[in-house]
Amino acid sequence: MRRTVPLVITLIVGTVLIVAEFVPHKPFGNLGDKFSMYFDIIAVFAFILGGGNLVRVHITKISRKKADWPFSAVTLAGFALVLAAGLFKIGNPGGIRGDVAVVGSLFNDLYIFIFTPLQASMFALLAFYVGSASYRAFRAKTVEATILLVAAFVILLGRTPFGLWLTGGFTGSWEFLQVPNLANWIMDVPNLAGQRAIMIGIALGVISMSLRIILGVERTYLGQDND
């Protein structure tokens, strides 16, 4: 029973949603949107699970004085502060009935002055990581890596004014040799062709995997092996 019921639900819901894609008439029309809404409703309740797990894991770490437990204390303090600021609308000009993220509220201040800069800092790390990853990826050890290096160099140059300045002398029928034009060609032709090939593969992979799940051939996602 424990094995069959989820499989039957998956089969019915999967089939109905495929039918709904091609049958606009009631009761199938907009069924996909409705199911997405149901999922969102379930996800909202699942927040409690997530929050509960977060608190439990970190309280355990602190109480057992596990390695790096002070980080857990900071996490819990931050969690409690934001939760209290949001729930009790501390400092909210509109009081308890006001909008939770209104300007002037503690919740909004925490978000704007602490969370957003921290988020931006993490995002900014990408600039350095792109540099270090490119350094490794573009080492011309093989023919493929050399092609990658040349293509990357052309695109980087083509995206700067220096590229146009350097090759602006090519005019008329030679204009295609201007670095920005070469960069655009690389992006629009070989790059796009590669991306589309990947997209076709992904689409076919999604169809195949969806069928395996709907037909019950693939059951690992239910926490059950196939045998």
Binding site: V23, S36, L54, Y129, V206, I207, M209, R212, L222, G223
Partner: protein
């Protein structure tokens, strides 16, 4: 004479004084006068735009009702002739109503309007007012049209047919493989390396980090990530290695726990399973990234799996993993993130390989058969690409309208509607 002059001067002064407010009043009234004059001029037959005429007023195809599609021919004065058409105003009247009301405006040059505010079962009549600056000419009034919901979305007929072919080929090969037919599958390096990566972590006595992407269970990539987790967790259980799986979605938390628990049961080691193997961090993208990076730097996992949907965090994870010397196996169907994983990870499952991974790792004939079914889709794609390249080349060389039309028709079948 002098008196006479004075009288005339006085009269002149009075007239002058009267002329100032009169001219001011006249100036205020000037626009009206002009409009009146202009209107008279424009409504002259030579300046009135000739009307557009309906070619198609029907219930919209393949929808859930509540919509009527209108199509018309351009006015002869739109882009040609007097070239004075500024817009097309759509007027509608429901059966039982006496007056037409304006329901929308379409810019000149366009020939289609969808009235998505109809009530099913009610007949509507329309006319178009082909407008110049301030006046316009009416088209003929259309016959009454009723909107209704359809049982089949005919606009997606091409998708339906191609989908049916691929689905049947997948199902056919599943049954074909079930009968014990031999299937050839190319080796996927990233999946061949899974055992090696888990073995390395076991030998080093360090944990394995498994990241299932940052989207929820309603994303197929997350589902793929969880199915692969089931296979990986079984090997982890057999090798008695530790797994650390921080997640960013609560539903993924419960699903992953159940998957790992079952893998441990299947491996005959249910006692070794702990709920703490999977733990929730945050839904926020960069908050999650910061926490996972912290775990990586502190715990130094020997192997990192990034399998699922990723965005900007992909490179941050992969570079941090590289900095701690972990073996990294990534898999995603996000084309924009694939280059980052390819550059920074040891192995990358590219697009379809992500969805094939679970079947590949299971080694079960019926699962492998489904992968073979995908090849039919690839053959269709390849044939169509080659055919369209040939047709467009021929159309370009011969300037043949018929070949170009054929090529565009075939392209239309395979383009998103």
């Amino acid at each position: 004479m002098k008196i006479c002059f004075n009288k005339v001067a006085a009269l002149g002064m009075v007239l002058l004084l009267l002329a100032v407010p009169y001219s001011w009043l006249a100036a205020q009234a000037e626009p009206d006068t002009l409009i009146q004059d202009t209107t008279v001029t424009i409504t002259g037959q030579e300046h009135l735009p000739r009307p557009a005429q309906f070619t198609f007023v029907h219930d919209s195809e393949g929808d859930a009702g509540g919509s009527i599609t209108l199509k018309w021919t351009l006015s002869p004065d739109d882009g040609a002739g007097e070239n004075n058409v500024t817009s097309y105003n759509i007027f509608r009247k429901a059966s039982g109503e006496s007056e037409f009301e304006k329901i929308g405006t379409v810019a000149s040059g366009l020939t289609e309007y969808e009235d998505a505010t109809t009530t099913d079962g009610v007949a509507y009549s329309y006319y178009i007012l082909t407008s110049s600056d301030s006046v316009g000419s009416k088209s003929d009034i259309s016959a009454g049209v009723v909107s209704s919901a359809q049982w089949f979305n005919s606009k997606d007929l091409d998708t339906f047919i191609i989908g049916i072919i691929i689905c049947f080929s997948v199902i056919f090969f599943i049954f074909w493989a079930q009968k014990g037919k031999k299937l050839y599958l190319r080796k996927i390096a990233g999946l061949e390396a899974v055992d090696e990566a888990i073995g390395r972590a076991t030998e080093m006595g360090r944990p394995i980090l498994y990241i299932p992407g940052i989207l929820d269970m309603d994303d197929v990539q997350t589902v793929a990530g969880i199915t692969i987790l089931g296979r990986v967790a079984k090997t982890i259980a057999e090798y008695d290695t530790k797994i650390n799986m921080p997640v960013s979605r609560s539903i993924v938390l419960t699903t992953a726990r159940e998957t790992i628990r079952q893998a441990y049961v299947a491996a005959g080691r249910p006692d070794a399973y702990s709920d703490d193997m999977v733990h929730y961090l945050t839904d926020e993208q960069f908050g999650y990234v910061a926490a996972v990076d912290g775990i990586m730097v502190r715990e130094k996992p020997a192997t990192c799996f990034y399998i699922g949907a990723f965005f900007a965090e992909s490179l941050i994870f992969a570079e941090t993993g590289h900095s701690i010397g972990a073996i990294q196996i990534a898999g995603t169907a996000m084309p924009a993130q694939l280059p980052f994983f390819v550059a920074a990870c040891d192995y990358t499952l590219i697009g379809e390989e992500l969805f094939a991974a679970s079947a590949y790792l299971s080694g079960e004939p019926k699962q492998l058969g489904s992968l073979k079914g995908q090849d039919v889709g690839k053959i269709i794609a390849m044939v169509v690409i080659v055919l369209l390249c040939a047709l467009f080349t021929v159309a370009s060389l011969t300037e043949s309208e018929a070949v170009l039309s054929l090529a565009n028709t075939i392209r239309g079948w395979f383009s998103a509607s």
